[in-house]
């Protein structure tokens, strides 16, 4: 095995492209978990809904319109999710809520199949990103560069919001000490609504971005959900920074592992999850223990 081939630039870029998609999804999942204490097993289904909506919207209005409209539509779904599910059931256990979101995932999946059918669809990248760019002398698909850019600028924006704004500070406070934050006069309900909308909106954004990068099919949600759960748990439940770090690590393990040893690439994420949950339940970051 030639190591120069392993760590070539396109390989690194591939790892980052996968990581950026995972980051967007996992940070949404981590946000919702942090604020609402819900492990949202419906996140994959929302991502799939986003991808299918993006297929229709970009067919009618173009990719750039979809990039704006679909996350907003998914944020509206988030409002419904918050008022219809999370608020009425807030007194129930983690497990009950997780199971309800599993049920919702099944329902959303069937709604998608009802409207769009089961055949895989393809979304083409917009013309300006269809070609390839030169990455230090090597050609590389322009769309993936765009994906990496959007992924990491979303993370940066999220980090800025969490770190330097008042509402961001409140989100961090509620994520780490819900009771104390409430006692200090933080309106957790309003914040919860905002964060759930943001989380589902992120799922929509990831769906739009995934269209030209992966295929759009009814199984896409379930496949990525397990990956995202691993990323969120490994990163530390409710910890955004941890989730981002874990997503990057995961991306590298996948891309480099497939070249080096496929067996290892398949097993590594699960072994990582076992290790983290059993020996360091708080994850990489300073997450809370579920």
């Amino acid at each position: 095995m030639d190591f120069s081939q392993l760590l070539s630039l396109p390989q690194l870029a591939n790892a980052l492209a996968l990581a950026s998609l995972l980051t967007i999804l996992s940070s949404g999942l981590a946000l919702i978990f942090g604020l609402r204490d819900v492990m949202n097993f419906g996140h994959g289904a929302l991502y799939m809904l986003g991808a299918y909506l993006a297929y229709s919207v970009s067919g009618a209005l173009g990719f750039w319109a979809a990039l704006v409209i679909v996350p907003l539509l998914l944020a509206v779904v988030g409002v419904v999710f918050e008022y219809g599910v999370l608020r009425p059931l807030r007194k129930r256990s983690h497990m009950d809520l997780a199971l309800v979101t599993v049920g919702i995932a099944l329902i959303v999946g069937q709604i998608v199949i009802k409207f769009w059918g089961t055949a895989p669809l393809s979304v083409s990248a917009p013309e300006s990103l269809a070609g390839s760019v030169s990455l230090f002398g090597q050609p590389y698909p322009a769309y993936r560069v765009f994906l990496i850019f959007v992924g990491f600028s979303t993370c940066a924006a999220l980090a800025v919001w969490l770190k330097w704004t008042r509402s961001g500070m409140h989100v961090r406070a509620v994520s780490s000490q819900p009771e104390v934050a409430r006692m200090m006069g933080v309106n957790t309900d309003r914040l919860g609504l905002l964060v759930v909308c943001l989380g589902t909106g992120f799922a929509g954004l990831a769906g739009v971005l995934a269209g030209p990068y992966l295929s759009v099919d009814p199984g896409m949600g379930a496949t990525i959900l397990i990956t995202c759960l691993i990323v969120v748990v490994v990163g530390g439940l409710g910890s955004i920074g941890g989730a981002i770090a874990a997503a990057v690590v995961y991306g590298f393990i996948q891309v480099i592992g497939t070249v080096l040893s496929p067996t290892l690439a398949v097993l590594a994420p699960y072994l990582l999850l076992f290790f983290v949950l059993l020996w360091r339940p708080q994850g990489f970051g300073r997450g809370r223990v579920a």
């Binding site: 129930r92 983690h94 009950d96 748990v233």
Partner: protein
């Protein structure tokens, strides 16, 4: 006493309720007559094919029995430990693959292979249980899910294709007979039914007896308040490992039966969706009794028959799960029992 439905364990709170009620109640003695009636029912049930001639409905009942066994495993763990297993497919499918490997690689006869699969699955689940029973419910659920997904990925790895059959699965050729049943007979619903039925009754009885035993009481007390049990001088770790092992054993019975009946081990058995069916059956039926998950499995198989072709099954399953969790946390069996109690004012 005869008004009480059979196979009812001590009254129990919903397995996932946030504030578990105290569940220990004095054990009721079962009159000899009721026990005899149950025994007669079990024996008569094995002769069902003489009554029900349709292979289609018998096949459906066999599916319900196998799904019911997996659901009993889940219900047992949920009721006794308050833990929900997302990855039951890892144990049922794992049992099926162990059986398949014993048959095809070691060339053992069917009975030996089945015994090996059950034993190996139990030992493995004891090891896994020793690692993970201490996790809290949500991490526990994810750990079992990850285990199942991992096994699913492992059997699909092309390097092990000779052993596991890869994506295509592993067709089996049995050597010897299973209690006098040849491979062709095992594939036929009317001759396979007694095997499935007796296995179902066996695991229900096992779950019921353990639930009523002292271990069962200790387990439910640990579920209610682990810390207090520890302070009271009880060992809270090994009983849970034991319960997990029993769960893994019961789930592997379902897997071995599937492999016996279909003579095939497919990666689909290890799929999240397969485990999901059992989970749905358990939730819909209710974990509080041993019969609840079986009722759920029967309802699920009927739903599959009615709506499977139109593709509405998953939609209904989703709606069913949401409605049951929100409105009937004790499942169909709990609902029936509560209504029954309200009407007849039995304590």
């Amino acid at each position: 006493m005869s008004a009480v439905p059979p196979m009812v364990v001590a009254p129990a709170a919903a397995p996932t309720a946030q504030a578990p009620r105290a569940t220990a109640s004095p054990r009721r003695r079962w009159p000899l007559g009721a026990l005899l009636a149950v025994a007669v029912l079990i024996v008569l049930g094995a002769f069902l094919p003489a009554l029900l001639k349709s292979p289609f409905y018998l096949g459906m009942l066999i599916n319900a029995a196998i799904l019911g066994i997996a659901a009993v495993a889940l219900g047992f763990l949920a009721h006794q430990c308050g833990l929900v297993m997302f990855g039951v497919a890892g144990f049922s499918g794992g049992g099926a693959y162990l059986f398949a490997i014993a048959v095809m690689q070691f060339r053992w006869n069917v009975l030996g292979a089945a015994a090996f699969a059950l034993l190996a699955a139990s030992v493995l689940s004891a090891l896994v249980g020793a690692l993970i029973v201490r996790a809290r419910p949500l991490p526990f659920a994810m750990l079992t899910l990850a285990l199942a997904q991992m096994l699913n990925s492992v059997v699909k790895i092309t390097q092990y294709r000779d052993v596991t059959g890869g994506d295509d699965g592993l067709p089996l050729n049995f050597a010897g007979s299973f209690f006098g049943l040849t491979q062709a007979q095992l594939a036929r619903p009317e001759s396979f039914w007694p095997v499935a039925w007796l296995a179902l009754c066996g695991v229900m009885l096992l779950a019921w007896i353990i639930g009523r035993s002292r271990t069962g009481q200790v387990l439910r007390a640990i579920r209610a308040n682990e810390e207090r049990m520890r302070f009271s001088g009880f060992d809270t770790y090994w009983p849970r490992v034991f319960a997990f092992t029993v769960t893994g054993f019961i789930a592997s019975v379902a897997g071995v039966l599937t492999a016996l009946h279909s003579a095939f081990a497919s990666p689909e058995l290890l799929d999240f969706v397969t485990g999901g069916n059992a989970l749905v059956a358990m939730l819909v039926g209710g974990a509080g009794t041993v019969a609840g998950p079986v009722l759920g499995a029967v309802l699920y198989v009927i739903g599959q028959d009615q709506f499977g072709a139109s593709g509405h099954l998953e939609l209904l399953t989703g709606i069913g799960v949401v409605v049951v969790i929100v409105a009937f946390p004790e499942g169909a069996m709990g609902f029936i029992r509560n209504t029954f109690r309200k009407w007849f004012k039995t304590p």
